[in-house]
């Protein structure tokens, strides 16, 4: 790992503990990881290994029970809901397995959603959204609703939405899980391009073929990181 790269995420011995009735479940147990600029990481592990929990915490959707999480030197583990929302909005681009596009909105409007919660003005918002759709090659589908697009196109709209805010990291949760293999390969190729363009990517997956694309591989088992190479 070239240490000359800038550290974006510093996670230092975090744990996430759930109480289910009398049972105490350690979803994450003393996990530490650093993520650097232009990393391309795959996070793997069987279900129940804690990879979703780790992704939620990295994505600032959840906070650890114990430990320190710093994102660009900001102390995430101490933030309140509003501050977390702002971090998600400004620093993180999400790509979900089920796309999670809003069905009533057009592609352009969907890409605009995160920008609505940013301080950008209307003109700049539109420009950014159009630019993001152009990057994913959907300039000609801006007025289409998700129901009028193929699965691969929907996921590309979702990627455009993730890119719109120019995030520090792109966090993809099983991005090819709901796609046919051809569209899946297309999306993965696109992730490669994003990585070459300098973006930082984290892909959570259980598919070996997806994980192989990444330059760094993290595996979880029983709430602990067992592989990081």
């Amino acid at each position: 790992m070239p240490k000359s790269k800038k550290e974006i995420i510093a996670i230092d011995s975090i744990s996430k503990i759930y109480h289910l009735g009398d049972n105490v479940v350690k979803a994450l147990d003393d996990v530490s990881i650093s993520i650097y600029e232009n990393d391309f990481i795959s996070i793997m592990g069987p279900s129940g290994s804690g990879k979703s929990t780790l992704m939620n915490i990295i994505g600032c959707l959840d906070v650890p029970t114990k430990g320190v999480y710093k994102f660009s030197n900001e102390l995430i583990s101490e933030m309140n809901d509003s501050q977390l929302a702002n971090i998600r909005n400004e620093k993180i681009g999400f790509v979900f397995q089920t796309f999670n596009l809003l069905p009533k909105l057009t592609s352009l409007q969907n890409v605009e959603v995160p920008l609505i919660y940013s301080p950008l003005g209307r003109t700049e918002r539109l420009q950014r959204a159009e630019e993001a759709l152009r990057i994913v090659g959907l300039s000609d589908r801006m007025a289409h609703k998700p129901s009028e697009l193929s699965g691969g196109q929907r996921q590309r709209v979702a990627i455009a939405r993730a890119l719109a805010n120019k995030p520090s990291i792109i966090l993809a949760d099983e991005p090819t899980g709901n796609l046919d293999s051809k569209s899946g390969v297309e999306i993965l190729n696109f992730f490669d391009e994003l990585h070459k363009a300098g973006n930082t990517l984290i892909i959570v997956t259980h598919e070996e073929s997806v994980a192989k694309r990444a330059k760094r591989r993290v595996e979880l088992f029983d709430g602990k990181i067992v592989v990081d190479e």
């Binding site: 959707l61 959840d62 929302a85 919660y117």
Partner: protein
């Protein structure tokens, strides 16, 4: 500020698309608000038209005029003084004559009695008047000027008519138009309940007031009226006294004097209540005000209940909308929406829905109120103050009943919400 504009745009889009999908459900919710608001607006429109013509009516009546009657002539308030005391004695002709002799501050005192409306049959030869008279009255020479009628041909009643109980009549313009369309009625004979009267005067048309023609009327000498049309014992028949002071400045003193003298005539002991009613135009105004007030209260109650039900409907529809959109809320939160963003989005939607219902209600209410006003012969009005209040009420309702769903939506957890299906 930028965010607020975005919420608005989003919310309007949201509401519109929501409408597209759940037309029936949303319309039913809106119906409640619409009924509430339209009933407020309709009644306020009608009241406003009445107030307008009532102002005209009162300024039309000389303000140095006051009345002595058995009961409050305007019996239109709910509850209130109500339908008078049946035991009050009639105001009689002899009391009128005694009063007339004793007053010094009153310039003029007239006795009058009226049937309004009147069921008498009016005919000329074989032609019978189709419509009922709106007023059939007995009076004296002063009645015309007190009520602002003018004679356009013929003469007024005079003292001889009263003294001799002559069978002469003044007719309103409607009567001439129907019974003497092509001829001069003066000197002709008309029959009132088959009793012949000679027409002595024709009155200039006055038009309509509160939807009733002021010209479908016939006036005869009070003495003649009492003798032929007031039942067996005319000396006991109830009459109304119209008194006129020298000027508006002396009307209070003249009223006090008249009350004092009338109490003396009736030998009412000091401290006992008047067993008659004395009405000034101010009191008429007050009576109208009472009526309008109690009507407003009643309608306010009805509208309030309907708005409350509508408000619960809004809360319900917002909660339904919330459950249908849990996933959307989760996605929005994941993408950076804060609690306040989701809260405002839902609240603005609730306000927009209730405003929409309110605006439909205002339009319907104005339409209905003005249709009623039209049939009562009034000019159309728009009670702008109440339009304004209604909008405020609707906005407040949106806030009050949208609050709980909005808080609930804003507190959703993004991880769980995104998984919700």
């Amino acid at each position: 500020m930028n965010r607020i504009i975005n919420y608005l745009r989003d919310a309007i889009g949201g509401v519109l698309s929501y409408f597209g999908q759940t037309k029936l459900r949303t319309s039913l919710t809106l119906l409640g608000i619409t009924v509430g608001v339209s009933s407020i607006i309709a009644i306020m429109t009608v009241l406003a038209t009445f107030e307008k013509s009532y102002d005209g009516l009162v300024s039309d009546m000389k303000t140095n005029v006051f009345y002595i009657t058995k009961d409050n002539p305007v019996q239109i308030s709910f509850g209130g003084s109500g339908r008078g005391d049946r035991n009050k004695p009639n105001i009689t002709w002899s009391e009128y004559e005694q009063l007339k002799r004793s007053l010094s501050l009153t310039k003029n005192i007239s006795a009058t009695v009226a049937e309004e409306p009147s069921e008498r049959t009016i005919s000329v030869g074989k032609n019978e008047l189709n419509n009922k008279l709106t007023s059939f009255w007995g009076g004296d020479a002063a009645i015309l000027s007190l009520n602002k009628y003018e004679i356009i041909s013929g003469r007024n009643l005079n003292q001889q008519d009263i003294d001799n109980s002559t069978r002469v009549a003044l007719i309103g313009y409607d009567i001439k138009e129907e019974l003497f369309p092509y001829s001069d009625p003066i000197g002709e004979t008309i029959k009132i309940d088959n009793l012949p009267f000679q027409v002595i005067g024709l009155l200039a048309p006055k038009g309509e007031m509160l939807g009733q023609s002021m010209d479908a009327m016939i006036g005869i000498p009070i003495s003649t009226f009492l003798q032929y049309f007031s039942g067996r014992n005319w000396r006991r028949a109830d009459i109304m006294l119209i008194l006129e002071s020298e000027s508006m400045d002396t009307v209070d003193a003249a009223t006090d004097e008249a009350v004092g003298v009338f109490r003396a005539i009736r030998k009412i002991p000091p401290g006992a209540e008047n067993n008659f009613y004395i009405a000034t135009n101010d009191q008429l105004m007050d009576t109208f005000g009472d009526f309008a007030g109690s009507l407003t209260l009643f309608i306010g109650l009805v509208a309030g209940i309907s708005l409350l039900v509508a408000g619960i409907g809004i809360a319900n529809i917002m909660l339904v909308s919330l459950t249908e959109r849990i996933k959307e809320i989760g996605v929005r939160k994941a993408l950076g929406a804060r609690k306040i963003d989701i809260f405002l989005q839902f609240l603005i939607e609730a306000i927009l829905i209730s405003l929409l219902g309110g605006i439909v209600g205002i339009i319907l209410g104005l339409a209905f109120g003005n249709v009623v006003a039209f049939f009562l012969g009034q000019d159309p009005v728009i009670p702008l103050d109440w339009v304004f209040y209604s909008i405020q009420i609707c906005a407040s309702m949106g806030i009050i009943f949208g609050l709980y769903p909005a808080i609930k939506a804003s507190n959703l957890n993004p991880i769980d919400s995104m998984r919700y299906d």
